[in-house]
């Protein structure tokens, strides 16, 4: 095939969008859009990296902080949520051997999250609304710095994402609970949900061993998805509530009535907001990632997961821990009660070392039990994902310490070795592993255009990700703050090195995107977004006779 033919039709013209089931199209739409938003996040990150080295002419502080506001939100909601939701809307029915409860609702989730992300990104781009993702009260309602209309559009965008998220939550829980036509089951939908989320296990743990119930949902990845979805639901609730509160102030301002911002206690607000926000970073991300590791380890090795009961228990512990760790974000708040800082901030947070450590070892031992393994793309990215969390979780435990937090809080250390390494190396490499594994399944056997590009993608991403985190961390140790601008090149050495690593990651992404486009062709990419020709609720097309 000529280069032009491959670019238009993909490798050997294997990928045929018309042959995809509605479920395959749904999952691919989520993943493709998530990848594009990841690209946007990477470009935004690079603009900020360059700005940290040398402020860009024509770009003022307001614009910089608007990018800083959009960057993590596009990364989490536009990219990670879409990729994860798309994969799970396919995997839960796949693992439970029944159709998704509602493909239509799945498409609504996709549309709402995509439109919502474009909306809040657009509002920061145009109006420079920039309260950051932290939204510390009363900054989001500070109309001496921000316009109320731009802010209201921003909140509307986040609200759309949250509604799309709630559609996903409903679809996942309903898929676990419902009985498809033609099938029978003794257990009620409620019992299925209680089993998947682990609540029935928690209730029966005090019973005699002989009277304990069997797991109605034996699939561990489904249990992980269900438990992570509990946090997704709670998080959406808190963010929606907070958004409505901010919106009330904005609407009042638009109509010429300034409400007193002291009506809301800033510390109480910070507590409830971090309780909800932390359900992402210290809840659903860790639970979803552990579940994905378990699934990938069993798929790659073809073996049962080592210590499956312990893994299931660790997922439950992680869920409970995620509800009680928020105070590690308030360790430098002097009005926060000391006992909350010690118990929630330090002690409960330390359990994440245990739960993630267990997941880490269980996956490594499962892989080891199947040696020799071929170093496939999913396997190497899985190992990269494991490394990312092995580096980032201890970094988080260190900063969730009263002694260390006092001298590190809000420095580049927090955002480098902890946040960026956790997300870019830990989470993103795990997602890449899943994408590389699921690609042939979702595309009915399409082939990758270039294995060399996959190898480049791996090394450039992991070296860039770990390197960037390390240089940001070194700058943090020297006192460089996050969320600020240095105009006199105080930390230029570290920022230049971090920018080089960032460039490496950008190149890795370009290689990945190019490889995907060449694999399925431009026609294929467009075809993913056209209505499905096959009218079936099945996940995969029926095998040809």
């Amino acid at each position: 095939m000529s280069y032009k033919d491959t670019l238009i039709n993909g490798v050997e013209g294997i990928f045929k969008p018309d042959g995809l089931t509605p479920m395959q199209k749904l999952a691919l739409r989520f993943v493709v859009m998530g990848i594009l938003f990841y690209g946007l996040t990477t470009i935004e990150g690079m603009i900020m990296r360059v700005f940290q080295v040398q402020p860009i002419a024509g770009m003022d502080a307001g614009h910089y902080f608007a990018i800083l506001t959009a960057h993590p939100l596009v990364g989490i909601f536009g990219s990670s949520y879409l990729i994860v939701f798309g994969a799970f809307l396919f995997l839960v029915p796949f693992l439970m051997e029944k159709p998704l409860y509602s493909i239509k609702l799945g498409n609504w989730s996709f549309l709402l999250i995509t439109i919502g992300t474009i909306t809040f990104w657009g509002s920061t781009f145009i109006s420079h609304y920039s309260p950051l993702y932290t939204l510390y009260w009363p900054l989001p309602a500070d109309f001496t710095q921000f316009g109320a209309i731009g802010g209201a559009v921003f909140i509307l965008g986040i609200a759309l994402v949250m509604v799309g998220t709630l559609c996903f939550v409903f679809n996942i829980f309903k898929t676990i609970a419902y009985i498809p036509e033609g099938q029978t089951r003794e257990a009620s939908g409620r019992a299925m949900l209680a089993s998947a989320t682990g609540f029935s296990w928690a209730e029966s743990v005090f019973r005699k061993k002989s009277k304990r119930r069997e797991h109605l949902v034996p699939s561990l990845p489904v249990a992980a998805i269900a438990r992570g979805t509990v946090d997704t639901f709670l998080n959406a609730g808190i963010l929606t509530f907070t958004g409505v509160l901010i919106l009330v102030y904005m609407v009042a301002e638009i109509f010429g009535m300034s409400l007193k911002d002291t009506a809301v206690d800033a510390l109480l607000y910070k507590n409830w907001y971090w309780w909800g926000l932390d359900l992402i970073a210290d809840g659903l991300v860790l639970i979803f990632v552990a579940g994905t590791w378990y699934l990938l380890a069993t798929l790659i090795t073809g073996k049962k997961l080592y210590m499956m009961r312990v893994a299931r228990l660790a997922l439950w512990v992680e869920l409970v821990v995620s509800w009680t760790v928020w105070s590690h974000h308030l360790m430098s708040d002097q009005a926060q009660p000391g006992w909350l800082k010690v118990i929630s901030g330090e002690m409960v947070t330390a359990f994440e070392l245990i739960t993630q450590g267990l997941a880490f070892f269980i996956v490594l031992i499962t892989l080891w039990s199947a040696r020799p393994l071929k170093m496939t793309s999913p396997l190497k990215f899985l190992l990269g994902g494991l490394l990312g969390f092995a580096l980032a979780v201890p970094a988080g435990i260190i900063q969730a310490d009263l002694g260390i937090n006092r001298i590190l809080h809000n420095t580049q250390w927090i955002i480098g070795p902890h946040v960026h390494v956790a997300i870019l190396v830990g989470l993103v490499m795990t997602l890449y592993s899943a994408i590389y594994y699921l690609f042939p399944l979702l595309t009915n056997g399409a082939k990758f255009y270039s294995e060399k590009l996959v190898t480049f993608h791996f090394w450039a991403h992991i070296i860039g990700g770990v390197g960037m985190g390390a240089f940001m961390g070194m700058a943090g140790m020297k006192g460089m703050l996050r969320r600020t601008i240095y105009y006199e090149g105080e930390y230029n050495l570290y920022m230049i090195l971090a920018a080089i690593c960032g460039t490496l990651m950008l190149l890795a992404f370009v290689a990945f995107l190019y490889n995907i486009i060449m694999s399925v062709g431009v026609k294929g990419v467009i075809g993913i977004f056209t209505p499905a020709k096959l009218d079936t609720k099945d996940l995969l097309p029926a095998a040809k006779e």
């Binding site: 330090e346 330390a350 080891w368 009263l402 002694g403 809080h409 969320r483």
Partner: protein, 182 residues
């Protein structure tokens, strides 16, 4: 009391060593699983030991730092300690207002910075001349924000906000606002 730079250096060394070790271990693991060899499953007893090690590590880390880093107990008990000096500082419209143009204290004084915000959430950080941070706290409006500290080294220190308070506040810096004398 020890200088916060010493604690930071210790922490840097410990984490760097850990990071290098885990990187090498993962590289070795990635290499080894592609090779022929005994694919034994870890004994349950060894796995249980791993769980115990993780638990002990997680809990003991904070107990150890709480007992050895002096500003932790001082901070948790600060309302029962009588300070040598108290500086009342207010923040409004992205500006610090200090009680005097340059605050002067002596090495070893137990000093309290009592910062009150009249509008937004800010940060209050004290920095050395080389830009490294000595200590910091968040400044939440409507609440008392008091930071107790002892300085071990004489010198001139800069104050800057360590929390984002909107584009107007990103350069909230008061150079040479604090002098610590022998």
């Amino acid at each position: 009391m020890i200088d916060s730079a010493v604690v930071l250096n210790g922490q840097t060394m410990a984490y760097t060593i850990y990071a290098v070790v885990i990187l090498l271990l993962m590289l070795a693991f990635g290499y080894m699983i592609t090779k022929e060899g005994k694919a034994g499953v870890l004994k349950t007893s060894l796995f249980s030991t791993l769980v115990v090690v993780l638990t002990v590590l997680g809990v003991s880390l904070h107990l150890a730092t709480n007992m050895t880093i002096p500003w932790v107990s001082m901070d948790l008990n600060r309302h029962n300690i009588t300070p040598t000096v108290v500086f009342d500082i207010s923040v409004e419209n992205h500006e610090f207002t200090l009680p005097e143009e340059q605050m002067v204290i002596a090495v070893g004084d137990t000093v309290v910075f009592d910062v009150f915000s009249h509008d937004l959430t800010y940060g209050f950080g004290i920095f050395r001349q080389d830009g490294s941070m000595v200590t910091q706290m968040q400044v939440v409006p409507g609440h008392r924000n008091d930071l107790m500290w002892q300085f071990l080294n004489a010198g001139i220190y800069t104050i800057r906000s360590t929390e984002y308070s909107g584009p107007k506040g990103h350069q909230m810096i008061m150079k040479d606002a604090l002098e610590v004398v022998e």
